[in-house]
């Protein structure tokens, strides 16, 4: 390169476009940009609502056909499919049913009152007050004082991105898949039905699980979370950026934070299609969460959680590995698939057992399909081994094609 060009480049690196970029009319750009962003958000919401409408129509038609088939075959169906349909029909994230404390609650920066609805993309911020959000029949959620979260998904499962502080939720179990999830940066705490609290302080995440099972791993773009499955009671801590490598779990009851009483009339009455693993069931000690929170706001002591009833320990299964393998196989065989497809499964289930043989955590390596994972987890956590420690169960089988 010639000296002239080198000199020209050196000058240009400093001068070319520098003055012009500083003289851009940023007020004009700001105005146009944020108007466009508002437009984008409105369009996104409208698209979601119309997609739900279309899905609802399609599902209704499918149901009609399915009902006809069921009549012909004379086969009774349970209510699981209907529950699943009803889940997809809701496009809102819920509404605020309680604001407790002297401060205010904001949605997208604007103060709101009890009754305000929460939608996809909304940022809910509890400034000096706690917000209780209810998604009827699905969950009750408290956004604690000084916390902030964004609604990032509302179809079926509600997903919040926790930006600051903590949220606590009582979630009604769903027949399959995930009912609720909290994202902290790129990690996800996903639940099927549980009582949990997720808090963050910078990148450090603390999860207290009082009931049920959670899955902790990297937030997937779509579908279920393939991460470590942890059963209650548990106190977990991890770094948001690398949940897999940093997760620590304590099942000591003393380490687990006492839950708020969050069960509502809606959650109590909801139909639950499967029984979650035997866990201490939280009974409501207050008629409504806002009452409990109001008490907390008045400076009264946090409502004492009822001591978790000690679940009856399952009997030791002399063929625990066989039971689990059989369940995974059954779950895989039950998946809908084309008649001419043969399924081959090669994975290893890695279990951590407590001293009494109870399963403390479970992980498929490599992961299996999320619905198989969700199906098998119920049995895995109910199975008791005759020993403690770590177990690796190789799971290799074929589900042959059902085509003639």
């Amino acid at each position: 390169m010639s000296d002239a060009l080198e000199e020209l480049i050196r000058e240009s690196r400093h001068d070319l476009g520098t003055a012009e970029s500083r003289k851009v009319d940023w007020a004009k750009v700001d105005e146009g940009l944020f108007a466009r962003i508002d437009e984008e958000r409105r369009a996104e919401r409208a698209q979601l609502t119309s997609a739900h409408g279309r899905r609802w129509t399609l599902v209704a038609a499918t149901l009609a056909v399915a009902a006809a088939v069921a009549l012909v075959v004379g086969k009774a169906r349970d209510s699981r499919s209907l529950d699943a349909v009803q889940e997809t029909a809701d496009d809102g994230a819920g509404s605020i049913v309680g604001i407790d404390g002297a401060g205010e609650v904001l949605i997208d920066g604007r103060p709101v009152a009890v009754g305000a609805a929460l939608h996809l993309g909304d940022v809910v911020e509890a400034r000096g007050a706690q917000a209780t959000i209810d998604r009827p029949g699905k969950l009750t959620l408290v956004v604690e004082r000084g916390s902030k979260a964004t609604v990032t998904h509302v179809q079926g499962a509600l997903v919040l991105a926790l930006l600051e502080g903590a949220v606590e939720a009582q979630v009604v179990p769903v027949p399959s898949g995930e009912a609720f999830a909290v994202d902290v940066d790129r990690s996800r705490v996903a639940v099927h039905g549980t009582h949990l609290r997720v808090a963050r302080a910078g990148d450090h995440v603390v999860v207290d699980l009082n009931e049920g099972v959670v899955s902790i791993g990297a937030a997937p773009r779509i579908g279920s979370t393939l991460g470590s499955l942890v059963t209650a009671p548990a106190h977990m801590e991890f770094t948001a950026a690398v949940p897999e490598g940093t997760l620590t779990v304590s099942h000591e009851g003393a380490d687990v934070r006492a839950p708020l009483a969050l069960s509502t009339a809606q959650t109590k009455g909801a139909a639950v299609a499967f029984a979650p693993p035997a866990q201490p069931k939280l009974e409501p000690s207050e008629p409504h969460p806002s009452a409990a929170l109001a008490a907390a706001a008045r400076g009264e002591a946090r409502p004492a959680a009822p001591p978790p009833a000690t679940p009856a320990a399952p009997a030791i299964d002399p063929d625990a590995e066989g039971t689990i393998t059989g369940t995974v196989r059954w779950c895989m065989a039950e998946r809908p698939r084309a008649e001419n497809v043969t399924v081959v499964v090669n994975t290893t289930l890695r279990l951590e057992l407590s001293a009494d043989g109870a399963v403390r955590s479970a992980r498929f390596d490599p992961p299996v399909a999320p619905d198989v994972n969700a199906c098998a987890v119920q049995t895995i956590y109910k199975t008791r081994f005759a020993h403690g420690g770590s177990v690796a169960i190789p799971i290799d089988f074929r589900v042959p094609s059902s085509a003639p």
């Binding site: 390169m1 000296d3 060009l5 851009v24």
Partner: protein, 221 residues
């Protein structure tokens, strides 16, 4: 015959002033990706001047610089949820900017030009020139902009990214989605074309002459 990479090593001395990544940037990106408008605004305010300068360098002086910058950040907003942190945010932002610039170039080419339309390359606004600016230097920048505008898009982009923004070819390869070898080839030909065009610009031809004077021939040190 010159090989495509002759003199390349020396040109890689062009090292940009690397902006230290602010410690909270990753969190800010995560919050903006989660839909928090305030976080997106902070991210935008942090990077908008750099984006405007890059757009100017790639498109030259034009009246719709603000529109292009706005479009870049609309695209950033729409795509941020897909940014998984696998590349540096600055690399990703450059990629979005390059794509928007190319889109504008394509749409400008397909736009009919009317006889009484003002020229595509308006003169610099007089208010953009500080009173103490050196007139010759300004004229050189204007002439250099004209040269850059004559390069094909692909060559101009790699030239601007490497020589003016100081980005390494490996990173440019990620930005433009081409192999590193292709980036280096484009860079070589871009430099060669600019060298050839220097003589055609009076404001730059003088510069070339002054550098070609043999040392010891009475020139200033």
């Amino acid at each position: 015959m010159a090989t495509p990479f002759a003199g390349y090593a020396s040109s890689e001395r062009a090292v940009r002033e690397v902006k230290p990544r602010l410690p909270d940037e990753e969190r800010l990106i995560g919050r903006a990706a989660a839909g928090e408008t305030a976080a997106f605004r902070q991210l935008y305010e942090r990077h908008r001047t750099d984006v405007a300068r890059l757009v100017y360098r790639m498109l030259g002086p034009r009246s719709d610089l603000e529109d292009v910058v706005q479009e870049v950040f609309v695209q950033v907003y729409k795509s941020l949820k897909d940014f998984r942190g696998q590349s540096k945010f600055s690399t990703w932002l450059h990629r979005v900017t390059v794509n928007v610039v190319l889109m504008y170039r394509r749409s400008a080419r397909s736009r009919p030009v009317f006889a009484d339309e003002p020229p595509a390359e308006p003169a610099l606004r007089s208010d953009a020139i500080a009173p103490d600016d050196d007139a010759e230097r300004r004229e050189r920048m204007r002439a250099f902009s004209r040269l850059l505008a004559r390069l094909a898009d692909k060559k101009r982009i790699v030239f601007v990214l490497h020589e003016l923004e100081g980005i390494a070819p490996t990173e440019i390869a990620k930005i433009v989605g081409a192999p590193v070898l292709t980036v280096r080839t484009r860079l070589f030909y871009a430099r060669r074309e600019i060298e050839e065009m220097l003589a055609e610009e009076p404001a730059l031809a003088g510069m070339q002459l002054s550098f070609s004077k043999p040392s010891g021939a009475g020139g200033e040190p």
